[in-house]
Structure formats: structure tokens, C-alpha cells
Symmetry: C2
Subunit: 339 residues, 2 copies
């Protein structure tokens, strides 16, 4: 095979908002598979806010990316050549091998996905880490009860849009916070959220939340942190639960993320904030995936994907995450399935 493997390396750690200077595309030889290995061609690459955390060299829940190495992340690919009994040519697999057009994997490094449930890209989204993050964060930590009020920040994002729909399935009143009128329309008209608030155009988020949540807030699914979360905290009910999933408002801060301390609010409300990552629930993934697939097939769950085309556009797609323009899951399509 004369074709080369294109790879995107992290060549500079971003300070503040990342820009394209942090990334470099290189070409390398494609490694032929040995016994027990498969050669995979990348079809879809997932770009996710959490990758920003791995671009700095600081302790986190996963190790930081090394400079001049390929950026890791969720990928769906097609097996071009197999030297293992466990996978066949043409199988569609998911793995974490990141921003490159080809990858030679041990069979155990990837997992074959079922192409019959839904389009394969959903395994990076609603049936993948994104959907599972929403599922376990809401149900295992937030535990919404019927008629309780669930507020979601980053509500039109990949995770938030699933959280709201699951909360509705559970009979909760759902209020989304998002950053454009297009997103508000999507939340209310497509996803049937009860209320949606545009934090960019509101004159007073706290007041708007009071109107949208006349019975207070029982569950706050926090994707963003910062001042939006401060405003939601003012409306917590007794025994409120806050799954803390992300803090995208802080990821590009150069200084310290400073705001009102939460202790007094938590005491007054006997409330809790629980940070989590989806990996905390790894032993329950099969159950979560099965229930998400069931809801998807029953038409109870919708999903939206923003799919950009072209390998070289992965860094731009990643940078777009911080502009707040995309709805639903953001993916880059790198190649078509060959068969």
C-alpha cells in the first residue's frame, strides 16, 4: 500500500483558547498488521471538550497528551485487513486511537459494533460515551423523580441534549440553558423541553431561571460551571443533586476559575455536587447501551449530529466546540465505508 497514514500531533500546549498552532498534520507509513492485529481505516472521529483538559500538562482523570504524539480520542473505523480470528475484513470497530487516518490495532484494542441498531456514527454519540455520560450522570447521580425539575446547562450539546430527553422519559420537568435561539428552538420544538433559556441574551439569568423553575431545581446537570452554574445554585431545592459532568466555561481560562463558594448553599439545601466521568460506570456500560438503544428504537430518544467532512478539518472542528455553535454531537467524517 503506497498510501500514507496522516496523523495530527499536538505540537504546542494551548494557553487559553486553543488555536490551530497547537496542531500539525504529518504523514507516516502505514504499519502492516502482524498476527493478532488488524489494519483499520478511520471513518469518523469524535471531537469532545474533555480533550482540552488533556492538552495541558497537569494531573487530571486521564494522563495529559504528550507533545508531538497523535491526539487520542474516540474513532470509528473499518477493518481493511485482519490477522486475527476475532475480527474480519469489513467489520466496523470503535476504539480510542485518535486523530489518524489508519491504525494498526491489536484485536483487543477495539470493539466491533453492531451496524443494525442505528447508523454507525451513533456509537460515538448517543449509543457511545456521550449517551452513556448522560445516562449514568442523570440516572445514577441525579436520580430525577417524576415531576421534579431538572435543569441542564450546555443543554443543546452532545451530552445535554440526551440528558434532557432521558429526564423527560422519567417524567421530570426539563429546563435547558443554551447559547443561541436556534438551540432554544431545537430544545423546545424537537426535544420537547419544557423551557429553554438563552444565557447569552438574557438580562438576568437568575430571574429567568426563577420563572422557568417555579418549583425550584431538584437536579442540575452541570456541563459548564462558571457563572451559569452560580445562577442555578441560587434555585436549588432541599436535597437537590448536581451531577458535575463538565466545566467548559473554565477549560480555556488562563487564570484561576473563581466564583462564589458553594459550601453554604450545599448546607442550607442538604444538596450535593458529584463530579464524575463516564468511566466511573464502566461495569454498567452494557446495561446503559441496551436501554439507550431501546429508547432510540422506540422513538423516545432523538439525536442530532454535526458532521464535518475531511481529516484535515479535525482541529477546526475541535476549536468550534469552544465557540458554542454546534448542536448535538460533533463528529468529523474522514472516509466512507468501502463496502
Amino acid at each position: 500500500m503506497n498510501e500514507k497514514n496522516k496523523q495530527i500531533l499536538l505540537v504546542k500546549r494551548p494557553k487559553g483558547t486553543p488555536d490551530s498552532d497547537s496542531f500539525q498534520v504529518i504523514e507516516s507509513d502505514i504499519k502492516q498488521p502482524e498476527n493478532g492485529e488488524v489494519l483499520i481505516r478511520t471513518l469518523y472521529v469524535s471531537v469532545d471538550p474533555y480533550l482540552r483538559g488533556r492538552m495541558i500538562d497537569a494531573p487530571s482523570y486521564v494522563a495529559p497528551f504528550q507533545l508531538n504524539e497523535v491526539i487520542e480520542g474516540g474513532v470509528i473505523g473499518e477493518v481493511l485487513e485482519s490477522k486475527t480470528d476475532q475480527l474480519n475484513q469489513g467489520d466496523i470497530v470503535i476504539g480510542g486511537f485518535g486523530w489518524q487516518t489508519y491504525y494498526t490495532a491489536k484485536a483487543t484494542e477495539v470493539r466491533k459494533i453492531d451496524q443494525d441498531i442505528a447508523p454507525i456514527s451513533t456509537h460515538l454519540g448517543i449509543l457511545g460515551m456521550t449517551g452513556l455520560t448522560a445516562y449514568f450522570g442523570l440516572l445514577d447521580i441525579g436520580k430525577p423523580k417524576k415531576n421534579e425539575t431538572v435543569v441542564i446547562s450546555g443543554a443543546a450539546g452532545a451530552v445535554g441534549s440526551v440528558v434532557g430527553q432521558i429526564a423527560r422519559i422519567k417524567g421530570a420537568r426539563v429546563v435547558g440553558i443554551a447559547g443561541s435561539n436556534e438551540k432554544l428552538q431545537y430544545l423546545k420544538e424537537e426535544l420537547q423541553f419544557d423551557e429553554a433559556i438563552n444565557y447569552k441574551t438574557t438580562s438576568n439569568l437568575k430571574d429567568d431561571l426563577a420563572s422557568a423553575c417555579p418549583n425550584g431545581v431538584d437536579v442540575y446537570f452541570d456541563n459548564v460551571g462558571g457563572e451559569i452554574s452560580d445562577a442555578v445554585h441560587a434555585h436549588l431545592n432541599k436535597f437537590a443533586r448536581i451531577p458535575v459532568c463538565g466545566a467548559i466555561s473554565s477549560y480555556n481560562l488562563e487564570g484561576e476559575d473563581v466564583g462564589p463558594r458553594v459550601q453554604t448553599t450545599l448546607i442550607k439545601k442538604s444538596a450535593f455536587m458529584q463530579g464524575f466521568t463516564v468511566g466511573d460506570f464502566a461495569n454498567q456500560f452494557p446495561d446503559g447501551t441496551a436501554e439507550l438503544a431501546k429508547w432510540l428504537n422506540e422513538g423516545k430518544l432523538q439525536y442530532q449530529e454535526t458532521i464535518k467532512e475531511g481529516f484535515e478539518n479535525i482541529p477546526d472542528a475541535f476549536l468550534d466546540l469552544f465557540k458554542g455553535n454546534n448542536i448535538g454531537k460533533l463528529l468529523v467524517k474522514v472516509a466512507d465505508i468501502s463496502n
Copy 2:
């Protein structure tokens, strides 16, 4: 009876650190008991940091005190006269009737205490709300495991000193943070804490915590909030638990309590902060009291009381709480038992 009932009223809501101007002693007639009632003479009054929160007119977990009303709070008294079958003259009772020398209560408003377990004052401390706060906050929220590290702020206070001892009973490594060398000595020599740190004299609390907690922090029992808690948060282990019991550092702040936001830390560590008040566990009080009494009788639990004398000194005792001088439970002795 010609004697008068002395009462202390809240006459001015404190701003910032309270002073004696907020309180006024008055005399009123003693109300004679009717059928179903008892006349009680106050023996001990409990003074507690949480009362500060009730002195301001803002929503909290309990209603604010009304101006020109008697300040409520835990009291132990002696039944002088009974017009109910449920209580007899000479019984020692506990109730929430507050800062006054006499009180005429319905039998259901107070609870008879067992004088045989321990000195009666312990029912306001280690066998009362204080001990139960430590017990449920640590065991139901913090859930320390053997050999885990438990850090306690306000460690020499009424609650903190019990938390540390229970954590030791459970086999944890216990590190206390307190504000004087006398307190450190008490924690290490009397209560057998593994380490104790003086936050007032340390040159770098974060570094001292690192030395005292070589394996990180699994449970942080937070009595104080503020910068001390910020420093502890830097050392949390994966899946750390933070029972948030008090935030005394903020109670007298006139401005907003501002500091580093916690979301990113909680996510990185899959950690949680759970605010609580002891009333959240009301249906488990009998079990908690029984186990505390058992440990007390087995010599596994010690307690220290700082007892001031004289009804008129109640406000000063309360103000002392915010000077950080007392060790253990702070009480005011108002009268001796008559029998």
C-alpha cells in the same frame, strides 16, 4: 413564685462579626403550667455556630430568628412542676426553648434524658446534636474505610473532635486542622489524631497537608469552608467524599464568599461534596445515640466541654465561638440541679 424569667432577645441583626449589641436581657413573668404542661428551669444552654445563620433574615435550612424574640437553641433543664403524667418533678429534659431561665413546655416539646449514661450536659454535646452531626456526617456521607485518610477542619471543635475519634474507631488515618498549638496538642495527645496542622501558623497549608497526607485525602469533613477547604481540595483522591457540615469562615463575611470554583476538581477526582444538617438523619437518631453511648462507655470516645457559668454570659459565650478559642463543646451553665 416571685422569681422572674430572664430571657435574651435578638434585638439587632448582626452584620459581620456579631457583638453584644445584638442581644438584650429582659425579665418576664414565669408562666405557670397548665394541664399537660411542665415548668422547667434551665440548667445548661448550648451555643452553636449555626445560630449565626438564623440571626440574619435570609432563607436557610431553618427559619431566621424574629427580632425581639427569645433566641432558640438546645437547652437542658429540670422539671420543677409537672401537670402531665409523662414527666415528673425532678426529671431532666432536653428541648429547644433557648436562652431563658425558665420555660413552660407542653410535655411533647421536651424529651426526658437518661441521667445514668453520662453527665447530663453530654446530651447537648457528644450524645446530642453535636455527636449525631459528627456520626451521620462521617459515617453516612464520608464513609471512611480502614486505612483511608480523613481530614477534618475545625478539628478541635465540638463536632470535629468527635468526627476524628469515630474515624479512628473505623481504622482511618486522621488529620486535624485547628487554630492553636493547645488544640493541636489536644488532638494528637488526647484524641490520638495521626497528624494535626495549625492553619494560623503554617507558612503553607497546602504543603503541610501534603506532608500530613502522603496518600492523599479520601474524606474531608468540612466544618469551615473558605481557604482552608480550598487547600484540602487540592489533595483529594479519586472518589473522595466531602461531608459539608459548616462554613464558619463565611458566617461573618459581609461580602460574598468567593474562591476557586470546585467543579473541575470534583470532575477530575470523581469526588462529591454533600451538604447536610443533622436533621436529615432524624429517623436514625436512636441508633446513632445508642452507638455513641456505647463507644463512650467503652472508653473509645472522649469529649471535652468548655463550660461558662451564668445566664448573662450566654451572648459572650456565643461570640467566643467566632474567636476560635474553645476546645470541644461550648456550654453555658445556668443553674445547678436542685435535688
